[in-house]
Subunit: 456 residues, 2 copies
C-alpha cells in the first residue's frame, strides 16, 4: 500500500490529513455522503487525494465521522486504483466540532503534516508551492486567498487578518480581514496542544485551535496568488467546480483553428456528460476510429446522400477524438499507451477516409490520375505529423508552430472533408489539404536548411 | 576562437599539445606533410583534434617544425570548421629531437596538459578515460597498451615496464616490458625540468625526458584495455587505419537483415571511396532520393525492361542511402538536420515507388482494387516508422526490436521490390511488404496493451 511516487518533500512532510467527518448538509439532501459526491466522474475525496499526489505526497490519513462506515470501501478503492497509502481513523466525537477530528489522528502525526478538507478542491500547484514555503521551526502555514472580492461564498468563508506575512486574526466573523482561509494547512504537531487548550475554553472547531497558535503569532500566511481552490459546499459551488474543471481542458497553444473554435467547445460539453458514465478513454478512441472507418465506406458509395452522411460522421469522429484525452485528464486516468494508440489509429482513420473518397470519385470519373492524386493526398495526411515527430526526436524540441502548421492539423483536415462533402467536393477537399501538407513539409525542410542548422 | 563545448575537465586540464614537427619520411616520399596525410577524407591532424574534442577538450597547441609554414593554413581551417582554439608554436630545433618541440611551448603550459602525437590516431574514449585517472599531485600518466602481441609495428614501438601501476622503464630497446606507449600522455609542467635534465645528458627526445621522471617513479601507467589506437607511421598502418575506421561504420543493433548482409558491405566500400571526394552527406541523400524517384517513373512504364532497371535503381538507392550517414560519421560532419531530412525524404521516396508500381500494375490489369491495394501498401511503408517514433516520443524508449521489426525496415522493403522487379512481381512485393507492416503495427498495439501499459 506504499505510494508509487517517491518525493523529496515526504522526507520533511509526513502525512496528509483529510478531514471527512462532517455531514455536509448544505450540498445535498439526497443521502449521499459529501466526500462521495461526484464531480465529473470522480468523488470529491478522490479529487483531493489526486491533487495531493500531483503535489508529490502519497501518505494519507482520512478522518471519518458521520456515516463513516460507508466511506471505508470507496477509500479502499482509491488505495487500490491510485497506489497510495491511506490510514482511516474514525472520530466518534465528530458532532462536537472538526477540531476533534484532527485530534483523533494525533497518534499518527509525529512531524509536520498537511491538512486539507475533503470538500476543498485545489490545484496541485497550490499545495506544491505551499510545501516550498519552508517555515522557520515551529511555525505553521495557512494557504490564503487575497482575492476576497472573488471568493465564491464570502459570507461562509473563514477570514484572516495578516500583518507582515503572519496571521494575526482568524474567524468567520472578524470585521477587518485581508484574505480568506483556503482550507489547506501545513501544520506542526503543536496544533494538538492548541486544540486541547481551545477545548478547555469550550472551542471544539479547528478554527478555535488555530486561533490559539495565531495568538502566539505562529501561523504564517501563504498567498496562493491566482491559483484555483474552491470550497464545494453548495449545489452552486459544485456547478462552478465542474465549470472550472471543464474549462481547464482547452489547449490553446496546441489546438488547431477548428479544434479551438468548434470541436473543443462541443467535445468538452460531451466529455462533461460522458465523465459520469463508466466509459474508458480507450473505448472513446476506438469509437471515433470506427466512425471514421464507417465514413470511409460511405464515401466509397457513389450517391450524394451517403457522402453527406459520411461528411457528418467524419466531423463527429473529429469531435469525439478530443473526448478521449479530455476524459483521461478529467478522471486522471490517462496513459501514454492511450495517447500512442490514439495517434496511430488517427493515421489509419485518415488513410481509410482518403482511400474511400478517392474510390468514390474514381467510380464516377474513371481516370487513373484520380488514384495518383488520391495517393498524393493520402501521403499528405501522414507526412506533416511524421516530419514533426522525426524533428522532435532529432532536435529534442518541436518544429516552430505557425499558421501553415495549423493548416496541416487533423481538425482542419477533417473539417475540410466534412465541408467538402456537404457540397459534393470531398475529393477536391482532400487534394487541397494534401497539397498544403506537402507544401508544409517542403517549407520546413528548406527553412531549417536555411537557418543554418546543418552545422548544429 | 574559443571552443564551442564547455567541459569540466578543462578546469583542471589546461591544453592539448599536438606534436607535428617531424618529417615522417616512412609514410610517404611524395612530399606531402605527414600531419596533412588524409585518412578517409580527413587529415591525420584533424582526426587527432576531433578525438580530443570528443573527449571534451577544445584548447590546443600545435608544435610545428619541418616545413611548418605549410601547416599554418590547414590548421586555421580546422579552427574555423571545428570551432576550437589552436595556438601554433614553431620549433626551429625540431631536428634535434621531439623533446625540443614540447619545450618550445613551455610558456603556454602552466598546469597539467594532455600530450598527443599528430600521427597517433585513437578513439575518444581512450582519452576520456585517461582524463578520469586523477593522478595524485605531481604524477604524470601515460596511456599504455598491454596487448603487446597485437601491436601493429612492435619493433618500432616504445615499450614500458610496469610495477604496481607505475612505469619503471621506458624505451624502444628495453628487453623486458609489459606494455607499449600509445603516445597519449597526461603531463604536469615538471616534464620541462626533466627535459632540460635530459638535454644536459645529451638526450633530446621526449622519451629521454619521460625517462627522467620515470626514474623518479612519477609516471603512472593507464591501461587502455580494448580501446583502439594506431601509430600511423607506414603505408601499411595507413591502410589498417582506414580498415578500422570503415569497420566502425556498421550498426549491428540497428541494421535490418539486408542492410547487415548486403547493403552495408557495399555502402562502406563506396563510402571509403566517396570520402576522398568533396561530396557532402546532403548531396548523397538527395542523389539517393532522385534515384528512387527515377525508379518510380520506370515502374510506371509498362515494359519489362524498365521495371528491371527500376528494380536495380531502387536497390542502388537503398545502398547509397547508407552512404550519407557513413560519410557524415567518417568525416565527423553529421548534423541532426541531415538525419532528419534523410528520414523525411526516404518516406517520400517510398511513397513515390509505391505509386509508380501501382500505376504500372493498373495499366495492365485495369482493376480498381489494384489502386486500393496499392494505397494499403503505401500506408504500410510509412506506418511502422510512424508508430515507432510516436512510441518513442510518448514512452521515451524504443519499441522492442524483434524479427518482425526488421521485416518492416526500409532495407528489406526496397530489397523485396528489387527482387520482385527482377521477376516481374514488384506489385506483389509491395503488397506483401505492406501487409507485414500493418501486421507489425497491429501486433505492437495489442502487445503493448496486453503488457498492461495502460496503467503506466
Amino acid at each position: 500500500m506504499e505510494g508509487s511516487k517517491s518525493c523529496s518533500q515526504t522526507d520533511t512532510i509526513g502525512k496528509v490529513v483529510i478531514i471527512a467527518a462532517g455531514p455536509g448538509n448544505r450540498l445535498s439532501n439526497d443521502g449521499r455522503l459529501k466526500p462521495l459526491r461526484r464531480v465529473l466522474g470522480l468523488t470529491l475525496i478522490e479529487r483531493v487525494v489526486i491533487s495531493c499526489m500531483q503535489a508529490g505526497l502519497s501518505d494519507f490519513v482520512v478522518v471519518t465521522g458521520y456515516k463513516g462506515e460507508f466511506l471505508r470501501r470507496p477509500i479502499e478503492r482509491i488505495v487500490r486504483c491510485r497506489c497510495v497509502h491511506i490510514d482511516i481513523v474514525e472520530n466518534p466525537d465528530w458532532k462536537k466540532g472538526n477540531g476533534t477530528s484532527l485530534l483523533a489522528c494525533r497518534h499518527l502525526l509525529g512531524k509536520p503534516f498537511v491538512l486539507v478538507m475533503c470538500d476543498h478542491l485545489f490545484e496541485p500547484d497550490l499545495l506544491r508551492d505551499l510545501l516550498q514555503a519552508k517555515p522557520s521551526n515551529g511555525d505553521s502555514v495557512l494557504a490564503v486567498d487575497r482575492r476576497v472580492d472573488r471568493v465564491f461564498d464570502i459570507a461562509d468563508a473563514t477570514k484572516v487578518a495578516i500583518e507582515s506575512r503572519r496571521i494575526v486574526a482568524i474567524g468567520k466573523e472578524i470585521e477587518t480581514f485581508d484574505a480568506v482561509d483556503t482550507g489547506v494547512f501545513l501544520l506542526t504537531p503543536q496544533i494538538f496542544g492548541a486544540l486541547h487548550a481551545a477545548q478547555k475554553k469550550g472551542g471544539y472547531s479547528l478554527s478555535d485551535g488555530v486561533r490559539e497558535i495565531v495568538e502566539k503569532r505562529q501561523v504564517l500566511a501563504f498567498d496562493i496568488g491566482e491559483k484555483f481552490w474552491l470550497d464545494v459546499d453548495t449545489p452552486q459551488s459544485l456547478k462552478r467546480a465542474k465549470r472550472v474543471l471543464l474549462s481547464g481542458l482547452t489547449k490553446p497553444s496546441e489546438d488547431g483553428f477548428v479544434s479551438h473554435y468548434i470541436n473543443r467547445r462541443l467535445s468538452i460539453k460531451l466529455s462533461g456528460w460522458l465523465s459520469h458514465l463508466p466509459i474508458s478513454p480507450h473505448a472513446i478512441t476506438v469509437a471515433s476510429f470506427a466512425m471514421a472507418l464507417a465514413a470511409a465506406f460511405l464515401f466509397a458509395a457513389t450517391n450524394t446522400l451517403s457522402a453527406v452522411i459520411g461528411g457528418f460522421l467524419v466531423q463527429i469522429s473529429s469531435i469525439i477524438d478530443g473526448c478521449d484525452g479530455e476524459i483521461a485528464r478529467l478522471k486522471h486516468c490517462g496513459s501514454r499507451y492511450g495517447a500512442w494508440m490514439d495517434t496511430v489509429l488517427d493515421r489509419y482513420a485518415d488513410v481509410a477516409i482518403a482511400a474511400g473518397i478517392t474510390y468514390g470519385y474514381w467510380a464516377v470519373h474513371h481516370q487513373p490520375w484520380v488514384w495518383l492524386a488520391g495517393m498524393v493526398a493520402l501521403a499528405g495526411f501522414v507526412m506533416p505529423s511524421f516530419c514533426r515527430k522525426e524533428y522532435q526526436l532529432r532536435f529534442l524540441k518541436s518544429l516552430p508552430i505557425d499558421v501553415l502548421t495549423k493548416l496541416t492539423k487533423r481538425d482542419l483536415r477533417l473539417f475540410a472533408i466534412f465541408s467538402g462533402a456537404l457540397v459534393g467536393l470531398q475529393f477536391e477537399a482532400i487534394l487541397a489539404v494534401g497539397l498544403i501538407s506537402h507544401v508544409y513539409v517542403a517549407r520546413n525542410l528548406l527553412a531549417q536548411y536555411r537557418r543554418g542548422i546543418p552545422g548544429a
